[in-house]
Structure formats: C-alpha cells, structure tokens
Amino acid sequence: MNSAVHDDWDGFDRGDLRRTLLHVEGERATVQLVVEGMHCGACARRIESSVSALAGVDRVAVSAATKRMQVTWNIGATPFSGLLRTIAGLGFQPQVLGAADREADLRERRTALKRLAVAGIAMTQVMTFAFALYAAASGGMEPRFERYFRLVSMLVTVPVVFYSAVPFFDGAWRGLKARRLGMDLPVSLAIALAFAASVFNTLRDSGHVYYDSVTMFVFFLLLGRFIEMRTRHDAGGVSEALARLMPRVVQRVRGERVEPVGVEELEAGDVVLVRAGAVIPADGRILRGTSRVDESLLTGESTPLRRGPGQSVVAGSLNIADPLYFEVTAVGSRTTLSGIVRLLERAQTERPRLSRAADRAAAHFVGWVLLAALLVAGFWAWFDPARAFSATLAVLVVTCPCALSLATPTAIAAATAQLARLGLLVTRADAIEALAQARYCVFDKTGTLTQGAPRVSRAVALGERSIDECYAIAAALERQSEHPLAAAFVDAIPPTAQAREQALSATRPTVRVVRGRGLEGALQSAMYRIGQLDFVRELCPGAAVPDSASPAGIFLGNASGLLAVFEVDDALRASAVDAVQALGALGIELEIASGDHPAIVGRVAERLGIHEWRARLTPDGKLARVRELNRARGGVAVIGDGINDAPVLSAASVSIAMGGGSALAHASADMVLMSESLGTVAEGVRLARRTLQIIRQNLWWAAGYNLVAVPLAALGWVPPWAAAIGMSLSSVVVVLNARRLSRASHQPAASGPATLTREVPA
C-alpha cells in the first residue's frame, strides 16, 4: 500500500522527513526499518551483507524474526535514499518505522485470521463428511454416496491446502532456497503428500483419503502460529504504543498568536501550548501554567504529577488538568521518548542467544526426521508395501520441533512484553536470560537506593569567610558541573548570598572535575577546591580539621585553608527497603558500590540491611570490582544511573539503568527501569526465572513427546489422523505454555499496564 510512495526514494532525502525519521548525530544517522518480504535468516544475511557494503555503514542489525533492521551509517557517504534503494533492489520492501509498521502488523494479523478461519470452518465440514466415510468403511453405504462424500471433502479441503497452508509452503521453499532446514519442510511435505494421495485415491475411487487429517493438521498448526504472532506483536507493540502517542498537530505560540503546525515543524526554542487532555509533543520546560501530568506511558507510574513553571515535561506524557505553555528543548528523535523507543527497537533487532541455539537445534532435528522418514519408507516398502505410505506420512506428521522453533521465541517475546508492563524495559535481547541467572547484585548508591536528589542539610564555616560567601563560592563552582550534587548546592544558596553568587557565576569560572573526588576552579584569580576532605587538603596540606566537622562532609577550601564544610543528605527511595528484602529472598546477594564517603554508604547499608558495601570507589574502581565479581562468581547484575556508570553497566552480565538516569546510562544498560521502583527489579528477576523455567518445560515436553511418538509412528501404530492431532496439539500446548508469561503475575503490580495500550484523545 505504501509502494506508490516508496518508489520515490529521493523524497526521503528531504530535510524535514530526514529529521523526523532518522536519528542524526553529526554525520552519523540511525534508522529503524521494517523489511517486508524478509522471513528467514538467509534473507536477513543477504540484506545485511549488501547494506554493510555501502559506503559509510557502521553497524547493521537485521532480524528475520521481527522483520526489523537498524542501520547506523554516515549520511554524508550514502544518502538515506541510497540505503532504501539498495534494500528495495534486493526485492524487499523497506518501510521506515512509523505508522507503516503498525499497518504491516495489522495486515499480517488480518491475513492470519482469514487463513485460520478458512481452515477452521473447512475442518468442521470435513469432519462431518469423514464421519460418514468411516461409517461407509464398515459397510452399509451405497458406493455412489461414498464417492460423493469423498468428492465433497476434496472440494472443501482445496482452499485449506491452497490458501490456509500457503505460509508453510512459502517457509519450506524459502528454507530450501537458502539450504536451510526448518520445521516448515516436514510440515509441507506431509500436507502435500497426504493431499496428493487423497486426491489420487478419490479420482481412482479406492484406497484411503486423509482430508480430515490434512484440515485438522493445518488448522491446529495455524492456531499455534497465530498465538505466536500475537505474542510477537504484543512485544513490538510496546515501542509502537510509545511512538504512536505523539500528536501530529501541535499549537505553536508566536507572540500573541497560537497557530496549529505539524509536529515535525517544531524546533527547539519554540513555545507550545498544550491544552488539557492533550499529549505533550516534545521535551521542554514549562513557562506558564501549572497542571497535573500523567507520565505513566513512559514510567508505568499511574499517579499524575504536579508540574509548574520551570519544571520539565517529557514528550509522550499526558496533560490532564490545565493548559500549559512550555518552551521546547528537544524534538523528534532527540526526545527522551525517542531514545527509549530506539533502545527497544535495538532489542528487537537482536536475536537472543537462546533463540539462535533453538533454531540450530531445530535444523538438526528436521534433518534427522527426514532421514527417519526415508528409512521408514524403505523398510515398509520391503516389509509391507500397503502400509508404507501411511507409516511414512505418520512419521512426517507426528514429529514436532515446535518447542524449539516456535515456543522459545514466544516465551521471550511474552516475557519482554510483560516486563515492559511492569515498567522494566528490555533493551538487549539476552537480558532476560542474564537476569534470570543473576546471583549477585551491585547497587550504585547515589540515585539508585536513594532518591538521587541530595540536599545540603548543614553548612559550617571553618575559616574567616562568612557562610554566605562560602555558599556563593561553592554554588558558583558547582554550577559548572553535571554531578547530581551540584544541583544541591545551587538550590541551597540562602537568599542573602544570591547576589554574590550571581556575580561570581557571571565570570564563567573554568573548573576541572576530578572524577569521584571533587572539582577545582579559579574564581577571581583565587584557586578553590570543593569535594572530599583529602582532595581539598592537597591544596592546603597544613590546614587543621576541626573536630566538629564530619569527615563525610563536602569541604570547600583554598590555598590558605579550609573555608567551610557542607553536610549533604539524601533520602532513601520508598521502595528500597522492600526491594532489598525481595531480592534477598530470591537468593541474590547484594552489595553497594559507591563513590561516597564510608560514613554515608555505611549508614545507607545499615538502614537497608545490606552487609557488603564499598565506599569511595572511583568509577574505575567500580568497574574493577564488577569485573572481579563477574570473574569470581558470574551472574552480576548492576543497578545504576550515574553519568559515570556507563562503563560499569556494560561490564556487568546484566545491567539495569534507572529511567531518570542519563541517556548514556540507558544506552549502555541491558534494561531500563522506567518505573523507578526498585521492587520491579525483584519482580523482573522472578519473571525472568519463570521464562527460563517455561522454556525448559517446553523442551522436556518436546523431547518426551517426540521420543514416544516417533518410534510408534515408525512402527505403523499411529494412523495419520492421530499423528496430526498429536503434533498440532503439542505445538499449541508449548505455545500456550509460553503465552502464560503474558498473564499478569500474582502480584497486584498490574497498575501501569493498560496505559500502554490506552487510546489517548488526540
């Protein structure tokens, strides 16, 4: 449906389209594409190698399972249209992720429903005729009626084979072309053989017909596929629901006038009016108006938050109460929402290790099945040719690699969607497996266990300068830093010191940040240091420390001595105590690794009941500690949010970044905790473990089923209809078992979920 538009690839190089569809940083652009027509790993590899060969392409990730790809490339070397044209040239239809993506899902779902309905309705009809035919087999029906029932059955089965079963034939053919064995191959062989033999026997008017087996087989297989597809769409739907939130038209304020403009025309610095009930179209800062804002779509937190002038709002949240005027700070692909959607897309373009392993195993399995079918056919042809066909057919039909190729991806997709509902977004494909295996959890104290909004609770002047003056110096220096502590100083300036601070800040001091220790800067040609005691004392080695000053405080000093000490306090997160207990109950050992002073870290650890803690760790120290733990015990989860923590997050076996943390932390983490409620982490661990458990159950079920069924079928004891029931029900069983993960867990944590699918008034 989009093909008419997409023939005109050059249109995609237009500036405005480029800005809304691509994420561009300098010359490097990142785009999400849905590739229609890509169904198998071979197509994916073909696309990957062709696109990688283009000039300036840095990174290509293609997933056949989700039909998605993500490309990062140098837009100066290859234009966007060139990229799209290359993919189209291979015979695929690239669609830029957006509205079209959802339509692709919808179309796939409608077609699947139709196929399922045809197979289901035909199956019930064929069953009634089959009953008459079985009665005829025991005698007591005129031959002309028997022939009639056979012809009618054939007629009804034709649309099932030539319409409903098309996906299996397609899959098998693509697999053959790519020289890869998939579960579609034995399925297609079985359908084709059974149908051909039935037609042959119908026309020559003797022998068995298998119309009932064929229709039933196709119906139940399609049912399994349908459930699998629903689960896959649910998982993809999270990011689409996020992306779909954005309004298309916004009210821009120019002077006194309010004019409606397209959201893509917005630029940073514009002033936008958001009426009550409308969605906030961009990140920004409120200029006028106070309202309640519902950010549940992003965070799962359902209580609306009060926001007033000076506070920031994020794109995608809903303005509930009163009109707001805000100044746009980020639009399009630079908003928080886009960043998160991009991370989710990344997770979907990666194939989890588990799925890859299951696919390989399934290919081996299918190879053995085909070999077994050949052997069975050979044996029976020699032993009893009359039964050779039905025994071979039974072997082909009865074997079921579905626990491998169908149920494992379904379980992972279902768990991903369920975690997103809890407020824990999976941004790396392997994160669920790693989370389930986590045995050790390292917290970064600041902002993770605490609220991350430290306040200066006490300040004492130590030198001859007044405390106001010390505040002014400290705030002027800290203003230049991005450390979470900096805001505490800026907020703490007493009114009497504000004028002085402004004067000092106006000189735009240059500061040098020493990570994990403090910062140093020159103000009015005097050198100051602010930070840990020993760091400040390097500037004034002789200075005495008064007993009254807590060594955990933050000191300010210059060459002549210490000037002041500030005590900084940070409240615990409400959820921290419960979360720590819940994680402990799951058998996970906890540790705090913080850059703060031992006195502070120790106090937090004691209040939470965590025995293991390390303080005064530099970011490098944290990294070393995580690496050491990973080597020694494995399964280390890191929960952090800091600007400095990105390398630590990447070093852990699974890492969770707080939703309020920096974008860099988000990008380095495997999961993002949007709800900011630590209790969700324990819930997530439980769900991840249940996912692995269900995958294991499915594999055991499949192993047991195949071990029993295949020998029986080879011996000729399983008629084709029983084989069809066995195989197709087995595949439905494993998929439904995986689908159990989508059900809300026993916890009443299901408060946020519906919000992601809720319609938002435009």
Binding site: R109, I121, A122, Q125, Y148, T757, R758, E759
Partner: protein, 51 residues
Amino acid sequence: MSIIFVLIPLGLALMGVAVWAFFWAAGNGQFDDLDTPANSVLSDDDPPPKG
C-alpha cells in the same frame, strides 16, 4: 437419501457465506483491537475521531 445431493451443496453455500462474512469483518478491522472498545464506555471523553 438422495436429498443429500441438495442439502450438502446448501450447507457448503452457507459455509461460503460464513467465510465471506468473516473475510469482510477481518478486512473491515473488526478484529484489530479487541480490548480498547470494551473499555470505551468507561471513558468520560468522546471517542477520538477516526484517522
């Protein structure tokens, strides 16, 4: 018994009608969203305009 030569084609015709009706409903988007419309009566707001 010869009546089945009439009844079964009739049954098949009905089946054809059922399939046609289902195809129409699926193509018309009746099955696209099975959850939201059920909740819409609980919402105070008017439903958003289509498109």
